[in-house]
């Protein structure tokens, strides 16, 4: 332990998803100053991009709204969006963290009136919808954005369009002069809540996500089913916009595979049950085939799985499909061996959803050495001085992430008060 004289009692939380938000509000409500660092324009992370939570199928906006209120009410939380940690020096009780911010080009006095978006003419890929559609170059990250502020894409800076966007703002909030910045913060503890990213489906070459439009991933399915998604909540085939009649859900797409993610991502089985429920809710005639190695309904969630098993229009096929082929009409044909009947099948579908797994964000970005200790799979090894919340520490669902974040907040508090 370092000398007590230079100790900081501020807690830094890196990552503003459900785990980071929870760790931040728990620590702040216990009386500690918290700095919350978020890379994207808005808090909420992957949870904001979900349509529903399993098993009760309630909307994540509800849980997020409560937490955003808690952040707003707290005087102890400082939120930095568009920010990333670029270096960490020092040790427990006295870290110096270098934070790098990129420009939003919109100042804090933005009222989210949307006048800037009305004059914007060019469009950029919509990261919130995983690039399934595009947004105006002056945009609100999503309807539940926190902070509720627009973003002006850097691509219009220095163009006449950028000037028009600036002129359209009634409160003068658009600032095209903003540049990348870097600053140091003194904190006593760092909580890594850096979360996950969907494993890149392009790596699963045999499943042809890149060249068959009706092969999508589970996170894309969430956006398709969301009312604020690219199709306003309608589950349709991306190729022709029609409702699918036969849907295949493929489990372990990249998980439990030594060529991809060696571990079980734990949540995908239940997430796919949720997708089966979305399809059955919207499309009365549609049938769903679930391809699985084994179904892992963790914790108390087996009843949700059993509910879907009772549905005669949801079938379960024990098989990890070997490949997806393209039919003459351009649709996906799922090929493999049914391991219970030993039958080699080739089944055409209207829509195939790949249950891609969870990859640790920090690992995907090359495991910065300053961050923490990592396990073999790139998750933060949360022992000793290393504190992690949520999926940064391993694959978890939302409720487990929240539990993990509360535990992380307790450990951080102990670290700064010891």
């Amino acid at each position: 332990m370092s000398e007590t004289t230079s100790r900081s009692r501020t807690i830094m939380v890196v990552g503003g998803g459900i785990a980071g938000i929870t760790a931040a509000v728990e620590a702040a409500e216990a009386g500690h100053d918290v700095v919350l660092i978020e890379k994207s324009p808005s808090l909420g992370g992957r949870v904001a991009q979900m349509n529903r939570y399993f098993p009760k199928l309630c909307h994540p906006t509800c849980g997020l709204e409560i937490n955003f209120q808690r952040i707003k009410k707290s005087k102890r939380i400082s939120v930095f969006t568009f920010s990333e940690v670029s270096a960490v020096k020092g040790g427990p009780g006295g870290y110096t963290v270098t934070v790098k911010t990129s420009p939003r080009h919109v100042k804090a006095n933005c009222t989210a009136c949307g006048d800037c978006a009305k004059v914007a003419t060019s469009e950029v890929s919509n990261a919130f919808n995983y690039g399934m559609d595009s947004v105006k170059s002056a945009y609100l990250p999503h309807v539940m954005a926190f902070p509720m502020r627009y973003v002006v894409d850097p691509s219009v800076v220095g163009t006449p369009e950028g000037e028009a966007i600036k002129a359209a703002c009634p409160v003068g909030a658009v600032d095209l002069e903003q540049k990348d910045e870097s600053f140091d913060l003194e904190v006593g503890a760092v909580v890594w809540a850096t979360g996950w990213r969907p494993y890149p489906a392009a790596n699963l070459t045999a499943y042809r996500w890149t060249d068959i439009p009706d092969v999508i991933t589970n996170v894309e399915m969430e956006r398709l089913a969301s009312v604020d998604g690219p199709t306003k909540g309608k589950i349709v085939r991306p190729s022709n916009g029609e409702a699918p009649k036969r849907v295949a859900l493929i489990q372990c797409a990249g998980s439990r595979d030594l060529n991809h993610l060696a571990y079980c991502s734990r949540i995908c089985c239940l997430a796919s049950m949720k997708h089966a429920a979305y399809v059955r809710e919207q499309l009365a005639d549609a049938t769903v085939d679930v391809y699985y190695i084994d179904l892992r309904a963790h914790d108390k969630l087996e009843s949700f799985l059993n509910r879907l098993k009772r549905d005669p229009q949801v079938n379960f096929v024990k098989s990890k499909p070997a490949r997806i082929e393209k039919s003459e009409a351009g649709g996906p044909v799922v090929c493999g061996e049914n391991t219970l009947t030993r039958e080699v099948y080739a089944e055409p579908y209207d829509l195939v959803v790949l249950a891609t797994g969870m990859q640790a964000s920090l690992a995907a970005e090359g495991q910065p050495s300053f961050a923490a200790d990592f396990d073999d799979y790139g998750f933060v090894f949360a022992e000793g001085d290393s504190i992690a919340a949520g999926v940064a520490s391993g694959p978890l669902d939302v409720s487990m992430s929240v539990q993990s974040a509360t535990a992380a907040a307790c450990r951080a508090i102990r670290a700064v008060t010891a």
């Binding site: 439990r256 990890k320 070997a322 080699v344």
Partner: protein, 204 residues
């Protein structure tokens, strides 16, 4: 443990899986198989195998030694390596099947003598071992005549047109068989390899 086979006389052998794990090329990784079916589903001739690799591995675990070593799965593998590339547990399926075929030959299973692919493999190896090259005519003739003189002539006549076409397009040659420069050295290498193999598996 007898390295050849734990109990060669038994048709059904509970030690068979362990024996395969320890003695068959790639068998140690077969222990990691999780029965997902990617191998059998990836197989371009999966519909022409009686069991396919996944089921065969389960049969090994179940100790069904006779059924495994009489299976056509060992002989129908075309070594495309789709299964090896896709296997989520990185099980070298192709190596295992080929080495099991060796075991079937060593133990004298009928499938290893009589199936088309076993006969062809034998003819192929005969040419490769003798000349260091495979000669299309000799391999084909050896394979055809393995069914008997009458059958050999019949098959040869039936494919005469193809053979002539191949000669015309220089895909098959007439005259002396192709061979490597020093066949004597090749034979010495192969004799040494056979000696090492015999030592490993117990002389038979």
């Amino acid at each position: 443990m007898n390295a050849m086979s734990p109990t060669p006389s038994k048709a059904y052998d509970l030690n068979f899986a362990r024996w395969v794990y320890e003695n068959v090329d790639g068998g140690d990784r077969m222990a990691l198989c999780m029965q997902c079916g990617t191998c059998s589903g990836s197989c371009p001739i999966g519909t022409q195998m009686d069991h396919g690799p996944r089921k065969l591995f389960m049969m090994i675990r179940a100790g069904m030694k006779d059924a495994v070593l009489s299976s056509n799965t060992l002989w129908n593998c075309v070594s495309c390596y789709n299964c090896v590339v896709r296997c989520p547990r990185q099980v070298p399926v192709t190596y295992i099947l080929h080495d099991l075929a060796h075991v079937a030959v060593r133990e004298g299973y009928a499938q290893a003598k009589e199936s088309d692919n076993a006969r062809f493999a034998k003819a192929f190896w005969w040419s490769a071992a003798k000349y260091g090259r495979t000669d299309e005519r000799l391999v084909t003739a050896k394979y055809y005549f393995s069914f008997g003189v009458g059958e050999g002539i019949k098959r040869g006549m039936a494919n005469q047109k193809i053979a002539m076409g191949m000669v015309k397009t220089k895909r098959m040659h007439l005259g002396m068989p192709h061979k490597v420069k020093n066949t004597g050295e090749l034979h010495a290498i192969l004799a040494k390899a056979a000696e090492m193999e015999a030592k490993k598996h117990g002389a038979k």
